[in-house]
Amino acid sequence: MWEYTDKVKEHFLKPRNAGEVEDANAVGEVGSMACGDALKLSLRVDENGKVADAKFQTFGCASAIASASALTEMLKGKTVDEAENITNQDIADFLGGLPKEKMHCSVLGRQALEQALADYKGEHVKEKEGEIVCECFGVTDLEIEKAIRENDLSTVEEVTNYTKAGGGCENCHDAIREIITMVRAEEKPVAKPKLTNIQKIRMIEETIEGEIRPSLKQDGGDVELIDVIGNRVLVAKRGTCAVCQASEQTFKNLVESKLQELVWPELVVEEVSQ
């Protein structure tokens, strides 16, 4: 049995905004009965560019219904620009989280929203772009790439949880693995999604090891990571750095700028004596 949050259950048992907006000017339809879930989202955007009404129709499980209900609640009153920024993670967060195997329900919501907004702007609602990778569920390489980028996915299992790709005959697992490798290779320095503490610490360690330590070592110096508290990175000088008064500012600048560039822009380096 799935562990759903109270909010998921509530939105499933008492869905908000079920149905179709009569004078809709933004409609998105995704999924299919064969896939096991489908969503039709209809919106009316008023003359001020705000979502005046939002309704949904869902074929799917409890979390698919709850995700669609949540999305309509989130959309009402938002401008088109604001609506565009709603991610699948936002939908899941609104519901207090979804079981990881059910994240594709939130992705379905995001996809329907994209289609509806494209429809509103009069953009030709495109047939699926890209090449089909997962034949069983008709998922393209571009959809997989997008899910990997937006949700920082790193395994085939995660990709399946978010997009369904690879959940059927499993023949496409190698292809999905290649896409993961490709996306993760290209993505290093760009703005990153939120890091967990463990990810942050791991990346700080990697950056110190790979980028900072080698240049300090040229002068016989070294650095040791003591702790990470929020965005504060506590380090201690080692080797010649520890006794060199003049190095004070350069040391801090070097370490901080590298960590800000490669890990997280808000990191602040503090020196401790240990």
């Binding site: 499933f12 064969a34 489908a38 039709k40 869902t58 799917g60 219904i65 059910k102 069983c136």
Partner: protein, 394 residues
């Protein structure tokens, strides 16, 4: 809220008489049946009685009964035993609709180099006997076919299939977990070599099972250790549960008639009323050869997990072949093997009854199901009541 339990193919309640028979073996009579003194030895005698009770239900001899921990262990033991005694043979025959205990094991063995043939079923879930016959070869070490299907209740002609295997000197095993206690089984009148059963499907506790091994069948144990079960299954006996299982078999033999009349009446009523009252619903599986307690119904345009959770709001327990309930993304392998369209398979619900169900319960369920389906259909983008009311899907 009271629970209306219509998921008896998943597990059953322990019969009060069974629990009563078991309790002394947790409280006072906790001796090890292998011990030399009376305090242990008397428990050994009760296990022997339980063995006789199981044998009676199956029309078998007591020495053909091996107690195990569950149906899956029995299935594993049977298939692995045949593969090690039938040296030089590398072929296994099974069906596309087996329980995971057999199906996943066969996939595992296929990865180890065995050749596995999965016999297909027709649209009604019945075994393709022509394909079965063609698949029997000199290289076939074992055939493993279920007696009755857990999802649809469809009964396979295993006795006929066993006879065909026997004529070719091939070991025949059947997973009879769903059949034992529900339909008459008489091992004296067939040539099945091995049969698995599970205690908790017939009102005994979980954690106990049986492998029947016909006298004279070559056998290689799976769990090696102590001398228990004459060295055929090591490990100290789960005494209380075995004694409970014996009692449950005794009760099953006596309740068989009621199962085939009262339970069947309730099942038929539920099935007919739901199919009559809910448009675009259909039955999965044939009705001629079917367990008396099981029905599997698909509701078009809605999804099974959502149905189950709304049923749960009324305390009604059932199960679904939809993808979402299992955690996989594909609907039930049984319904897919039968060629049930995905659109129907996602909305399938299995109801399975027992002698403990009442007509009031069934009437309550008949009353609630149509409104549950209607509520979900009103949310569904595919439901167009005006156009579809008379067109039965696929």
């Amino acid at each position: 809220m009271t629970t209306i339990y219509l998921d008896n193919n998943a597990t059953t309640r322990v019969a009060p008489e069974v629990l009563e028979a078991m309790l002394p073996y947790y409280q006072d009579l906790y001796g090890n049946p292998s011990s030399a003194y009376l305090f242990g030895g008397q428990v050994g005698r009760r296990i022997q009685e339980a063995r006789e009770q199981v044998a009676t239900l199956l029309g078998a001899m007591p020495e053909e009964i091996i107690f195990t921990s569950c149906g899956s262990e029995s299935d594993n033991t049977a298939i692995r035993s045949a593969l090690s005694t039938e040296t030089g043979k590398g072929h296994i025959i099974t069906s596309r609709v087996e329980h995971p205990a057999v199906k996943v094991l066969c996939t595992h063995l296929s990865n180890k180099g065995y050749r596995v043939t999965e016999i297909p079923v027709n649209k009604e879930g019945q075994l393709d006997m022509d394909r079965y016959k063609e698949s029997l070869t000199r290289d076939t070490a074992i055939v493993s076919l279920m007696w009755a299907n857990n999802e649809t209740g469809v009964i396979f002609p295993v006795e006929e299939a066993a006879q065909m295997a026997r004529e070719r000197g091939i070991v025949f095993h059947t997973d009879a977990v769903q059949a034992v206690g529900k339909i008459p089984i008489d091992m004296k009148n067939n040539t099945i070599d091995m049969l698995s059963l599970s205690g908790h499907k017939l009102h005994a506790p979980k954690g106990t099972g049986v492998l029947y091994v016909r006298k004279g069948t070559r056998f290689s144990p799976f769990l090696i250790g102590g001398h228990q079960e004459k060295g055929r299954r090591g490990g100290t006996e789960n005494t209380a549960s075995i004694i409970g299982l014996g009692k449950a078999c005794d009760l099953a033999a006596r309740n068989m008639e009621e199962g085939n009349t009262k339970v069947k009446y309730l099942r038929d009523k539920l099935e007919k009323e739901i199919l009559d009252r809910v448009p675009n619903s259909r039955l999965n599986g044939e009705t001629l050869n079917r367990l008396p307690n099981t029905t599997n119904i698909s509701f078009e345009f809605v999804e099974g997990e959502a149905i189950l959770l709304l049923m749960d709001e009324f305390g009604i327990c059932g199960s679904s072949g939809s993808a979402c309930t299992s955690g996989s993304l594909q609907p039930s392998h049984v319904l897919r093997a039968m060629g049930v369209p995905f659109t129907m398979a996602h909305g399938s619900i299995r109801f399975s009854m027992s002698i403990y169900n009442t007509e009031e319960e069934i009437d309550f369920v008949i009353d609630k199901i149509p409104s549950i389906i209607e509520k979900l259909r009103n949310l569904s983008p595919y439901w167009k009541p005006d156009e579809q009311a008379c067109a039965t899907g696929a």
